[in-house]
Symmetry: C3
Subunit: 337 residues, 3 copies
């Protein structure tokens, strides 16, 4: 396994092998599996869960990790090709990325969306520019449009909760938020649930439709797995018999890159804060998922986060086990996708 | 051993077991004792000794550590309960703390005093709020009113120096400083010396009395150990036959939380800079202790720090060994307090 | 081996032993050689390669590392002796450095040039002040006038490329840059190439001569090794039959510490950007070296960095292997210089 970038690059059987490996490593530690091995963690954007869980994952397997973030160095990192570097940035990614990789056995890169042009972000330009500079096994730690580690952990969480694949009803819901957030999590989540064979409903206000390219890919994945994907703004209908609601805010795709128009539109939907009344038509044991960080009282009410529906801590913890499986598969031959 | 929070939670015998373990690990390394184990270090306030010594302690025992500080993440961390998070903070401690803990086998938390209300800080509100969110073995890395790792290391240092328990004379002295500092170190130090059975004198100017709740607890500990605790502003008297002076600045308790009144009062005591003349009535070999960082020429004269009385580096180094003992007791069953 | 500070402290035979060890560790990992050992990394100035490569080096040898940089702590670190610390800095290097060292088996220190007085920087005052406080094995991670880890890695790279020692022609060339940079790399590089027995030409515009003390030391080293050192501003002449050009910008030594005069002088030499036409008189396979970070389009043209002449990534990667050899020699007895 040379790269972990897009869940859709793998067959359902390969995902299953990774999940089995994650479950095994959770039960049965292998504290010397990656002895002498090093992971390079390059963060172009800030992080808490990813920063912590990858370091912990490497330590638990007997390896080590180092972290590079642009503010730790002299240099902002320049990303534009062909530029005369007479400004602030003292180093270009064309040197920095291969150098960082040269110290490691596996590399993780985080590079958020620019959120100026939807086309640019769907093409994942920043990440792809860096990806092309790395020969090592490479893990996408969240890019403009991908967050495969989150989705692998979420799949593992759904399995642990016994939520059915075929016939499982999964609602991905937009939620209120003060800022225009990236599309990586919703785009990856809708594909994950579709690949898992679930009946997926994307619930969002008008103007916050997911990009058609993403929806189309999700529908193809659902067709292959026996699932389905639909999109609506009708909450009660979307939530009917749902096993799980996955809440997440994202930018308006209608006004992508236009901060003012986005802000005006999202202000009209401040009532999209998940609360107990959302669950009226859902299954009684319907679960609440979120990738974190989450704004309490804005995205979701305290009583949901603090109540029995919430599995957000379990999701976050599974980040570590899912990533241990990916690292093991890459470096210790632990599974063979 | 599930928690290391307050030295007074332990019997003198349990402390002795930890100190024996620290001494053993100093002599006889155990580089695989914590193989595959991970420590999470959460700093809500900055650090040098604690940051370095805990990472070194985990490495020496074969484990690993990761560090989270709020400025490393997108998010300031919100601590207030029940708040609508529509401001700057993107994450609440109610998620962040359990998530960070979920990646680790043991967790350390540092959260300084707010220094607005003495009652609030004596109740250690910030730390207690986070403490309640952690199921793991937990180490207090300095809170508003506790610094048990410092005191365990100081106890070890006193033992190494051969300073007697019964009959040992310990002076905890206030010292000059440009800023109003927290009470954690003096509060923990007076209790430590009392538990150790020493005759403790708190030397401080009028207006800088230690809180009565702390003094009362210290007197109870002294009663149990055969020591004593008194408080005075008479320097020569306090220092008479002293084995050791432990200098530290702290906030005025009379004007706690009132920066201007505190500053005015402390300006009157800029002569409280420990120098050789302080030792006139002390034992000739009286030692100088300080938890560091220390302001030279303000808290203490260079000639004292650079001279034979000073044991500040030994104290700092013992932080690592004392913490190795605590980690070993928690995770490797190395002693059974 | 107690210290790695100046390549000239070692004989050519001792350097050879370190390079042999580096090559062996590159071929044949020793993931338990430094089990339970800890490196302290103290950065008074920012870093990317050094930060990453030392952490990776320690992990690969089974040890661990921790990083301290002044902005991570409460305290700026005070360096001036005898000062009354009533300002911003809360800690003096006289405590901080021995304390950090007390947690480690080996320490690395980075402290850049002040760039106010040439005499001050040639005497390496900041670094020497800290060096005197450390009893541990100590590695210079770049000071005002030394960068031995870079030069050891560069020597290894020259060997790997098969560039001859005797008769090898090495050009160290000044290059354009928006800022007045330190002298550490050119000063160390000219000595390294001289020690290696090469014919070294320092190519620089008028006003950017290397300090006479450095040139004199380089000439002595060349005399001992059978090499030579000359200085010129004639590009075509300098580059004649060159095996390698090592580009680097540095401050004007004529106007050292005078930012405006330096800026005015360097503005006249913005054409000192290494490009293909520089190689007209060189050997056809003449290589391009640089220590990184490098400003594209300012120091060197993209086509050189991206073309077959460039070995900058190999140099950077060899930092890790060279440093592994130094660490191994210091802590595992891996070679005996």
């Amino acid at each position: 396994m040379k790269e972990f970038h897009d869940l859709a690059d793998f067959t359902a059987e390969e995902i299953q092998q990774l999940l089995d490996l994650a479950a095994r490593l959770k039960r049965q530690p292998e504290p010397r599996a990656l002895e002498g091995k090093v992971m390079a963690l390059l963060f172009m954007s800030p992080s808490l869960r990813t920063l912590a869980s990858f370091q912990a994952a490497m330590h638990r397997l007997g390896g080590g990790a180092f972290v590079i973030s642009p503010d730790m160095s002299i240099h902002g990192l320049e990303t534009r090709p062909g530029i005369v570097m007479d400004g602030m940035a003292a180093e270009h990614i064309r040197e920095a990325v291969p150098v960082i990789a040269s110290y490691a056995d596996v590399m993780g890169i985080r590079a958020f969306a620019e959120r100026r042009s939807l086309e640019h972000d769907l093409a994942d330009r920043e990440y792809q520019a860096m990806r092309g500079l790395v020969q090592l096994p490479l893990i996408n730690m969240e890019s403009a449009i991908q967050h495969p580690c989150q989705s692998l952990a979420d799949w593992q969480t759904l399995d642990e909760l016994g939520i059915p694949r075929q016939g499982g009803r999964f609602v991905l819901s937009w939620a209120s938020h003060p800022n225009a957030l990236p599309l990586a999590v919703p785009a990856t989540t809708v594909k994950m649930a579709a690949m898992r064979g679930m009946d997926v409903t994307v619930l969002r206000p008008d103007g916050f439709e997911l990009p058609e390219a993403i929806m189309q890919q999700a529908r193809q994945l659902a067709a292959a797995s026996g699932g389905s994907v639909t999109e609506t703004d009708e909450r009660a209908e979307a939530m009917r018999d749902a096993h799980v609601i996955y809440a997440k805010s994202w930018s308006s795709t209608r006004h992508y890159g236009d901060k003012l128009a986005d802000a005006e539109l999202r202000r009209q939907h401040e009532d999209w804060c998940v609360d107990e009344d959302w669950f009226a038509t859902a299954r009684p044991d319907c679960r609440f998922m979120h990738c974190l960080p989450v704004r309490r009282g804005v995205v979701v009410a305290d009583r949901i986060l603090d109540g029995p529906r919430s599995v957000v801590i379990q999701e976050a913890q599974n980040r570590m086990y899912a990533q241990m499986a990916v690292l093991h598969a890459m470096l210790a031959g632990g599974s063979k996708p």
